[in-house]
Amino acid sequence: MPFPLVIAGVAQSSYRRSGHRESRLEDLIFETCSAALDDAGLARDEVDSVVIAASDHVDGRCISSMLTANAAGAYCNDEIKAADEGAFALVLAALRLLTGHFRTSLVASWSKPSESPYALGQNLAADPFYHQPFGLNHVVGSALMASAYRHRFGAADDAAARVVVKNRAHGRNNPLVEEVRAVELQEVLASPYAAYPLHALEVAPEADGAAALVLATEERTRDLDARPVYLRGMGWATESYYLGERELWRFAALERAARRAYEAADIGDPAGAFDLAEVCDATAYHELLACEALGFCQPGAAVDLARSGTTAIGGRLPVNPSGGCLSAYPVFSAGLTRVAEACLQLQGRAGARQVAGARTALAHGCAGYAGQSHAVFVLSGDRQ
């Protein structure tokens, strides 16, 4: 068995919807990466790998790692950058360690959307011939997904809105998230459409932030003084870019990714296996589709999870106890933030948002229009 690997250090910046205006991007990265090394009790030269994930257009420079890699401690180290969602930095770092050539990797991702026109950048990610001109972007893609989901399952108006109410209530317990106002169901439903049928409050608000981890082999962590979190399995997958080729009411790629992760972690019944999940809720519908693809419930039944309180803190399977992206969405690095939050839960370090007795958690990252691409991790405080 190649797994488990060990997460030996965790750090996050605060997540600010109003922007980290007093910090340059490289300061935000440096402080977060330094804190992750401190958390693991390691110096910069004690890691033999650095893996980062970031987006040129969010960072506002092409080949942005020219500047940012060294802020992430890569100087003279073996560093590689995933130009992909933050979760993929952890994927690549884990692969590196599993080759046996590396023992300890710093893993980092960040986003500072306050300094970039994110919606425009997301429009410019579309096929330039057919899709850019009609205004496809992340919100429009998600709206098409939401429509397909509602049509398929006859989901009512309140289905996704309840996820917003829940996650924002959770977010109020998370001191890393810039204070978020609690909302009532009616307020969500009364908010204007961002793109039908998505209400503005159902779309995650962009926030500046960074997350960093130290990933190590088990053998390496024997001499580290940390409460280890075991990475017991991971999976990732994409599907077609073309929305017309996909069943937009489901996250087919996440189903595949989860199958791979569960197989590695020997999880037979995902609905009963986790004490909490941190999933990418780029829109409220993302959480519904993710819960179904992850096997927490049957297709179409995620609505009931939100309605019954199952996914609220205190419920059977709290989803996004951190408040999720719906409280603060560090657009490109959200997946690594989800992992960091899951780690804090498993270490009992989650403060007011702590899920009591959490031993096993799932973390998920997602990118592309309507959830084209996914990565999922099974994390545990226990080795097996």
């Binding site: 092409c62 073996d78 080759t99 990610a125 011939f129 599907e239 870019y241 087919a252």
Partner: protein, 393 residues
């Protein structure tokens, strides 16, 4: 632990100035198709896909890997993108290696494609990485950044413009034998020396062209390689090294790694050689495919790879040590000076090195090639990748 990994298939499109008849995903797909055919595999036999795309601004579509996912056979599969600037192709090959060597996957497709000359001006795009307050306005770009390196090498070691020119003469002579090369017309020493200055000391013929094209390789575990391929190119060593962004920090009393040399590449090479068990690279390496977008870059890289001492690279280049038939052929494909589809270029080096150890390099074959080195360089000459491929496992 480590699963022994090989390259069992290589696919390249011809490299040209522009390919207006193909979209960027179609271009990537063409290389992928050729690599699969070479590996005698179908797309369903591939377990995971890695895409290498450097600044997507050259292609003009953000996160264009998402757009290309179905074209490169990634739909329904594990898929991710890497970007380390010019080193992207080397990083993509290394990422592909991690997939297989980790034991999680048996066959992985690595694809890189670029359309450099279909942006309004590549050097406008390559001005965009620099500091917006201090550096962009002085029109810093890939050419003058490398010219600084060249000047420093000349200052430190007395390297001459004639020695630089000899690198172009050899590369273009090699490129004439490579049917895929973008520039296939040989040049004389006089022609190079008489070509106009682009940025002192680099003249037009010292510089790479802007190319469109794609490259793909199939990596496989030893078990699959033995079944699919009579003579796989075994990956024996690999490493990467990231240097500081600031070129000024690579000069002067406090500098650890000098901008005039490729000390960062030397660090990566040392780790890759150690993994491959290579002690005397000049004797043990049969050929090298070096990512050198300018003649001067190759001279410093040859030194960093341990083929000669620092400062000797220019003299030995002029003396023909790295010619075909010379002591250690460098860039038998014609190298980056004959084609530079930026995102793909470092993977082209890996692909060409693989073809050499597979004995399938055609007219550009180095007879009896046993061990080949492939490098990539990106950023402010700051990201370096190095792979060692060999006939023996």
């Amino acid at each position: 632990m480590t699963v022994t990994t090989a390259i069992i298939g290589v696919g390249q499109t011809p490299y040209r100035f522009q390919t207006p008849e193909l979209t960027w995903p179609e271009l990537a797909q063409e290389a992928a198709r050729r690599a699969l055919e070479h590996a005698r595999l179908g797309v369903d036999d591939i377990d995971a896909v890695v895409l290498g795309l450097a600044p997507s601004a050259l292609v003009g579509v953000n996160e264009a890997e998402k757009w290309a996912a179905p074209a490169v056979g990634a739909a329904g599969k594990p898929y991710l993108r890497v970007n380390t600037g010019g080193a992207t192709g080397g990083s993509a090959a290394q990422a592909g290696y991690y997939h297989v060597a980790s034991g999680l996957f048996k066959t992985v497709l690595v694809v890189c494609a670029d359309k450099v000359a279909e942006s309004p001006d590549a050097q406008h795009v390559l001005n965009a990485p620099w500091d917006p307050l201090y550096e962009k306005d002085v029109t810093l770009n890939a050419i003058n950044m490398c010219a600084f390196q060249a000047v420093r090498h000349m200052h430190k070691y007395g390297t001459t413009e004639r020695q630089l020119a000899s690198v172009a003469v050899r590369s273009r002579s090699n490129g004439a034998r490579n049917p895929l090369a973008h520039l296939r017309r040989p040049v004389t020493l006089e022609e190079v020396l008489d070509s106009r200055y682009i940025c002192y000391p680099l003249k037009l013929a010292d510089c790479c062209p802007r190319s469109s094209g794609a490259c793909a390789v199939v990596l496989a575990s030893a078990e699959v390689a033995a079944r699919q391929c009579a003579r796989p190119a075994w990956i024996r060593g690999l490493s990467a090294c990231t240097n500081t962004y600031y070129m000024g920090d690579r000069m002067g009393p406090g500098a650890e790694l000098d901008h005039g040399d490729c000390d960062d590449l030397a660090l990566a090479a040392r780790r890759a050689y150690e993994m491959a068990g290579i002690r005397d690279p000049r004797r043990e390496v049969s050929l090298a495919e070096i990512y050198a977008p300018f003649t001067s870059t190759e001279i410093a890289a040859v030194e960093a790879l341990g083929f000669c001492a620092k400062g000797e690279g220019g003299r030995l280049a002029e003396a023909g040590a790295w010619d075909m038939g010379g002591e250690l052929p460098v860039n038998p494909s014609g190298g980056t000076l004959c084609a530079n589809p930026i995102s793909a270029t470092a993977l082209v080096r890996v692909a060409e090195a693989a073809l050499q150890v597979m004995g399938e390099a055609g007219e550009r074959q180095v007879p009896g090639a046993r061990v080949a080195v492939a490098t990539g360089v990106g950023g402010s000459l700051q990201f370096h990748t190095c792979l060692v491929l060999a006939v023996e496992r």
